[in-house]
C-alpha cells in the first residue's frame, strides 16, 4: 500500500510539469463542451449514480453548478469516478478539470501535490463509532482496539497521530471504501470504525437499530472538505472558487433556485444580489464568463442550503445537521468572501 501510494504520488508529481504546459482549462472545457469532474466511485449523499444512471449528491451538485456557470448546462458534466488513491493523479494528469470528492484540504496536498483548493464546502471532523455493547465512553479507552480505517486518506494519518500522542495502541484493519468498512464493522472484524463524522452518520443510518452504536464524543481532527483544481491556471481556479462562494453567499442573501430567475431578471434594491446575478457590474466578464454565470449556477441545483438539505440534510436518510456548516449568522462557520 505504501509503495503504491508513493508511485501514485510520483505520478502526480510528474503531472505538474504537464499541467503547467496545458492551455487554458476554461478554453479546453468550452471546446470539449463538457466539464470533467472527479468524484468518488460512490459515497452515500455525496456522489452516487441513481437508478437511471444519473449522478446525484452533494459533491455532484457542486460539479453541476460549475458546469452551469461555465457551459450553461448543469448536465454537461462527465463524471470521472476515482478512488482515494487515484483522485489527485486523475486531476493532475488532465483526466479531470476539477475535483469534488469529499477531499480534505491539507498542506501537503496543496503544496506538494500542486493543487489549488477551493473554498471549504463542508466542515467535517474525524470521529469514532463503537458498538454500545463495547462499554466505551471515550476514545482514550480504546487501547488495543482493532480499528477499521480507509487507506490513503487523512483519517489514516490522524488516527496514528491520535493514538501515538495518547500513548495507546491499536490494530488497523485497512479497508478501501465506506461500504467495505460497514460490512467489516457489522461482521465484528473491527471494534471501532473511524472516519469523518459525516461518514459515520451515513454508516450509522444503515443500521437496523442505530441505538446499538454510538459515536464517541471526541472529534480528533479538522477535516475541511472542499473542491480542488490543478496548479497553474489561476483563471480556472478563480472561476471554481467563486462558483462555490456564490452558492454559499446565495443562501446568505436568500437567493434560491425558486426565486433566482425573478431576482436576476432586472436590477433590484439589493446591490449585493444585483452584483451576483449580473444585473449590476461586470463580474462575470472579469472571470471570462458572462453576466449570468452565478444565476445559472444557483438555478441549477439551488444555493448551498438547498444542496445540503437535498443530499445530506436532516430529512435525508443520512440526517446530518448543519452544525458547523451553518451560515456564520446562524452560528456556523460558513463565511463566503464578499462578491464585489
Amino acid at each position: 500500500m505504501k509503495l503504491i501510494n508513493k508511485v501514485f504520488t510520483g505520478l502526480a508529481m510528474t503531472a505538474m510539469a504537464a499541467g503547467a504546459a496545458q492551455a487554458s482549462t476554461l478554453d479546453d472545457v468550452k471546446a470539449a463542451g463538457e466539464l470533467k469532474c472527479v468524484v468518488t466511485t460512490g459515497l452515500a449523499g455525496f456522489a452516487a449514480p441513481n437508478a437511471a444512471g444519473k449522478w446525484e449528491g452533494f459533491d455532484v451538485d457542486f460539479c453541476r453548478a460549475v458546469a452551469a456557470a461555465v457551459l450553461g448546462d448543469g448536465d454537461k458534466v462527465k463524471f470521472v469516478p476515482s478512488t482515494g488513491k487515484t483522485r489527485f493523479t486523475l486531476l493532475n494528469s488532465g483526466e479531470g478539470d476539477i475535483l469534488f470528492r469529499n477531499t480534505t484540504e491539507t498542506f501537503s496536498r496543496d503544496v506538494d501535490l500542486k493543487l489549488t483548493f477551493l473554498p471549504v464546502n463542508y466542515y467535517d471532523g474525524q470521529g469514532f463509532m463503537v458498538p454500545t455493547a463495547l462499554g466505551v465512553a471515550s476514545a482514550s479507552e480504546l487501547d488495543g482496539a482493532s480499528v477499521c480505517i480507509q487507506t490513503g486518506t487523512t483519517t489514516e494519518l490522524n488516527l496514528a497521530d491520535y493514538f501515538r500522542s495518547n500513548g495507546i495502541s491499536y490494530e488497523p484493519v485497512p479497508i478501501e471504501t465506506n461500504e467495505e468498512a460497514y460490512t467489516n464493522y457489522v461482521a465484528g472484524r473491527c471494534d471501532v470504525y473511524t472516519t469523518d463524522a459525516s461518514g459515520l452518520a451515513a454508516t450509522r443510518a444503515k443500521f437496523e437499530n442505530p441505538a446499538d452504536h454510538m459515536v464517541l464524543p471526541e472529534i480528533i481532527s479538522k477535516e475541511p472538505l472542499g473542491g480542488a483544481v490543478r496548479h497553474g491556471d489561476d483563471q480556472w481556479a478563480d472561476i471554481a472558487k467563486w462558483v462555490v462562494n456564490a452558492l454559499i453567499a446565495a443562501e446568505e442573501m436568500g437567493i434560491t433556485s425558486a426565486n433566482v430567475a425573478e431576482l436576476g431578471a432586472a436590477a433590484g434594491n439589493n446591490p449585493g444580489i444585483n452584483r451576483m446575478l449580473g444585473t449590476e457590474g461586470s463580474y462575470g466578464e472579469m472571470l471570462g464568463l458572462d453576466a449570468a454565470w452565478a444565476a445559472r449556477a444557483i438555478a441549477q441545483g439551488g444555493n448551498y442550503g438547498e444542496i445540503f438539505d437535498r443530499n445530506i440534510g436532516p430529512d435525508t436518510p443520512l440526517g446530518i445537521a448543519r452544525g458547523l456548516n451553518a451560515q456564520w449568522k446562524d452560528g456556523g462557520i460558513l463565511y463566503a468572501a464578499p462578491l464585489r
Binding site: L11, A15, A18, A21, G42, A52, T86
Partner: protein, 367 residues
C-alpha cells in the same frame, strides 16, 4: 411353483442383489462406510440442515421483490427490489436510454458470432466465421456511433455491457496476438525473438492495475497536448496486451509439449514454415493448451473488474456505486451476491465449454 428351465446361454439377466443397488446402498458406500465417514457425514448434514433453510428463507421466502426504498424491504430477507430497480443500470451502465437498442442488437449479433465460432455444425459456417471476424468492428461502430448513428461517449459505457466489451475484446484479440508472440519467442530471427521475449517478460512483470493506471493517466503525458485518445480504447489495448503475454506463454507450453519430430516431419514433407505451423504444429499445440487458454480467458474476464481503479464502472463498479444510494442504504450483500452470480454464470459457462472441447478432442489422452 413351477421351475423354469432355460437352455444353456439363454438365461435372462437377473437384477443385481438388492443390497448392492439403490439409495440405501449408495448411502452406505459413500456416506456411512466407516465410523469417521459417518461422523463427517452427520456433521455435514447437520450444517446443511441448519444453513439451507435459512438461506432459502433469506434469499427467496422472506425476500422483497418490489419496492421503492429500503423501508419497503423486510429487514430479515433479501431486498431484490433494489436490484430490480437498478437492473437497467447494471446492464447498460450510463448508456443513453434512447440508444439502448444498439447494445441489444450488438448482444444478439455477439451471440450469433459466438455460436459461429463454437458450434461446428452452424449452417454456412465459412461465411459465419468471416462474420465473426469482422463482428468486433461492427460492434465497435454500433456501440460508439458515428457514420449515421448518434455518437455515444465511451464514458457512458458501464455495467454488464462494459464488462462484456472489455472481456470479449481481450479474448478475441489476445489469442491471435498470443499465438504470434509464442511463435516469435521460438523464432530463429533474433529481432523477432528478442522483441517477443522482451514484450512478454515486461508485460508479465507488471501488474495489470499498473498498466491500467499508465493507460489512464501516463499516456496523457506522452501524447501531444490536446490529443484526446479515448480512455476505453486505451484500456482495451492494455487489457489485450496483458492477456496476450499470458496467452503466449500458455501456447508456448503447448508448442514445447510437441515432439521435435513433428516439425522435422513437416520439413521433410517440404512444407514451408507457415504451412507447417498451420497444418501440423498449431492444431496439436492449441489442442493441448485448451485448459490453459480458457483459464487465461476466465482470468482476463474477471480482471476486467479492475477498471474501477481508473474510474470505469463495470458491473462490479456499478454495484459498488449503487450501494451508496441513500434511498437503499446497507444492501451490499444483495449487490455483491448479484455480481458474483453474474460472474459465476459466465465463467462457469466458459469452463464447461472448455471441458466439452477437451472431451471431444481427447486432449487428456484417455485412451
Amino acid at each position: 411353483m413351477t421351475e423354469q428351465t432355460y437352455a444353456p446361454g439363454t438365461h435372462p439377466d437377473l437384477p443385481p442383489p438388492s443390497n448392492t443397488v439403490g439409495p440405501i446402498h449408495w448411502l452406505q458406500v459413500n456416506l456411512f462406510s466407516n465410523i469417521p465417514n459417518t461422523i463427517v457425514s452427520l456433521v455435514a448434514i447437520y450444517l446443511l440442515a441448519i444453513s439451507i433453510p435459512a438461506a432459502i428463507d433469506w434469499l427467496f421466502l422472506k425476500a422483497t421483490y418490489v419496492g421503492e426504498t429500503r423501508n419497503d424491504c423486510a429487514r430479515d430477507g433479501a431486498c431484490w427490489a433494489f436490484i430490480g430497480e437498478r437492473l437497467q443500470l447494471f446492464i447498460y451502465g450510463f448508456y443513453p436510454e434512447a440508444e439502448r437498442w444498439r447494445v441489444d442488437l450488438s448482444a444478439i449479433m455477439l451471440a450469433v458470432a459466438i455460436a459461429a465460432v463454437l458450434w461446428e455444425r452452424m449452417p454456412a459456417r465459412g461465411w459465419m466465421l468471416i462474420y465473426a471476424a469482422v463482428y468486433p468492428f461492427i460492434a465497435g461502430w454500433l456501440l460508439t456511433g458515428g457514420m449515421g448513428l448518434t455518437p455515444v461517449d465511451t464514458n457512458d459505457f458501464g455495467g454488464v455491457m462494459l464488462t462484456v466489451v472489455i472481456g470479449i475484446t481481450g479474448i478475441a484479440f489476445s489469442l491471435p496476438i498470443g499465438i504470434l508472440l509464442a511463435l516469435g519467442r521460438q523464432s530463429n530471427l533474433p529481432i523477432i525473438k528478442y522483441f517477443s521475449i522482451g514484450f512478454i517478460e515486461f508485460i508479465r512483470g507488471v501488474p495489470l492495475i499498473t498498466l491500467l493506471f499508465v493507460a489512464s493517466t501516463m499516456l496523457s503525458y506522452f501524447l501531444p497536448p490536446g490529443s484526446n485518445f479515448d480512455l476505453l480504447l486505451r484500456v482495451l489495448i492494455m487489457v489485450t496486451l496483458f492477456a496476450s503475454a499470458y496467452m503466449a506463454e500458455v501456447i508456448r507450453g503447448g508448442l514445447q509439449a510437441l515432439p521435435k519430430g513433428q516439425k522435422e516431419a513437416a520439413d521433410s514433407l517440404g512444407l514451408n514454415y507457415w504451412q507447417a505451423m498451420r497444418l501440423i504444429i498449431l492444431p496439436q499445440a492449441l489442442t493441448i493448451s485448451i485448459p490453459g487458454i480458457v483459464n487465461t480467458f476466465i482470468g482476463l474476464y474477471k480482471d476486467t473488474s479492475l477498471v474501477i481503479i481508473i474510474g470505469l464502472l463495470d458491473v462490479l463498479g456499478v454495484g459498488r456505486a449503487s450501494v451508496s444510494d441513500t434511498a437503499w442504504v446497507g444492501l451490499s450483500t444483495e449487490v455483491y451476491l448479484f455480481v458474483a452470480v453474474f460472474f459465476f454464470i459466465t465463467c462457469f459457462g466458459m469452463a464447461r465449454y472448455s471441458l466439452h472441447l477437451e472431451n471431444k478432442l481427447h486432449t487428456g489422452h484417455k485412451h
